[in-house]
Symmetry: C2
Subunit: 285 residues, 2 copies
């Protein structure tokens, strides 16, 4: 009998997982709280069948939760209460600590694997799903000691099929790091987008004339779904507030260099201490 | 006789102009203060010939200045003093006000056209030049009333060959707008890059595991050349300091929404007031 995989949430991430697994001949069933999404997912071939939430929990060997992080927290205990010792549940949320904390005393905690495939793009919905979304992207599995070895193995197998680079971290640590490399960039992009909106809303003609690629790439993330990102920002609020504070202080320091007209230090700032240096170092090591 | 076009500065922008104009059979000669750049430019076919600075000024019908803005200001008066009433000079600098101000009393002011082809990418040097860099990108010509009509016409012709969308602005206005849509995004990207550098310099293994596309696109601009961007930031310093201040205030407001856990307002912030709204409006108009 074919393994049945049940995906809850058929947006960009859930949809892309569905596409990939169907290519490998899995039987993929799905449920979305938004009927339009599940209808679209069935139509474009993300899933073999739409089922009810209850049926999905009952008949899936592997249950994948690709819904906003606040919704995961709302339903995860309920799902774990219903699964048996052979079923595996994993999520794809962008924060991990509060999800793991919410099920710490659940008797079936071991059946859950806290996962974060880092593969989001600015587009959302099943219509944006693509089978190669995860190719060679990072995936972090958190608090692996709290998952049963077989559940971990099964989840790993799925991410291997998606061709992801899997590694492990504590959930608390994950949330701190991800606030730097993902949540802060999103905030930066949304806030930049808002300033531009304010400056050019009543002057669109000027905007069309002066816009360039630099702005396009720096505001790319601001196209991301507010339904996905509001819960992420709130869930990782404490880390994110710290990170934004730090970023503001760094901006102030840079502004001070401008006020001082410190050519030497500005030149050094732009040239030396940046991400490309780390990436080069990694490539040479 | 073929029109001779002389390019001073054979990096990304100057080099890409050379490639494009040679495709249209112009005789393109070049000079770069860095001999390595001119040798490379000749070798890869950006220019037909390397000439001395003095010869370039003497024999070119059109002189294009693609060097950092502070260097333009240093040599522009000198160049204009030497040109005749048939020669045209235009620049490609990212700021316009101080360049225009520096030559306001030059007797040959009319031979100069202050231009900003908004087409830079994060890579620099002649080796990054490409003939289609300018395709359908914006180009702003500033203070056009101060240029002789024939000089304006000639410059426009070149930008038309490069397939750019040319429009006009006052130089002061240009520098304010560009501080929002280009200089601020560059600062944001450089500063983000610096934070990530600081956080992960001694923890590169974690960095490799957790990096994703969001960070890559938001820090793309931080790969830009410090030789190009230090003078731009300093030249547009007053506008940029104001813009960074405003950005810091916007970040603080966003942080306040997080502190208040204001789900409704955060959701609205992310969804409504951003650049994509303006772009959609433009597309529907």
């Amino acid at each position: 009998m074919k393994t049945i995989i049940g995906i809850i949430g058929l947006g960009l991430i859930g949809g892309s997982i569905g596409f990939s697994l169907r290519k490998f001949n899995y039987n993929v069933i799905g449920f979305d709280f938004n009927k339009k999404n599940s209808d679209c997912a069935l139509k474009i071939g993300i899933i073999n069948k739409i089922v009810s939430f209850q049926d999905l929990i009952k008949i899936s060997s592997i249950i994948i939760l690709s819904i906003p992080v606040d919704e995961i927290i709302k339903i995860l205990n309920n799902i774990l209460n219903k699964v048996n010792k052979k079923q595996v549940v994993f999520d794809t949320g962008s924060t991990k600590y509060s999800i793991c904390k919410s099920i710490i005393s659940n008797k079936n905690r071991g059946r859950f694997v806290a996962s974060h495939p880092i593969a989001g793009i600015e587009n959302s919905g099943p219509q944006s799903a693509r089978y190669n979304l995860f190719y060679r992207k990072n995936c972090i599995i958190c608090d692996k000691k709290l998952s049963d070895p077989d559940a971990l193995l099964t989840t790993n197998k799925i991410f291997n099929i998606l061709k992801m680079n899997v590694s492990y971290m504590e959930s608390k640590e994950h949330d701190i790091y991800i606030s730097y490399v993902s949540h802060l960039p999103h905030v930066i992009s949304f806030v930049l987008s808002r300033i531009i909106f304010k400056k050019f809303l009543y002057n669109k003609k000027k905007f069309i004339k002066i816009i360039g690629n630099g702005l396009i790439s720096t505001t790319r993330l601001s196209k991301s779904s507010s339904d996905t990102w509001t819960p992420i920002f709130l869930d990782n609020r404490d880390n994110l507030i710290d990170t934004i504070h730090l970023y503001i202080n760094f901006l102030k320091s840079f502004n001070n260099l401008l006020l001082e007209k410190n050519i030497y230090k500005i030149h050094k700032y732009l040239k030396k201490y940046n991400i490309n240096k780390i990436i080069n170092d990694i490539n040479y090591e």
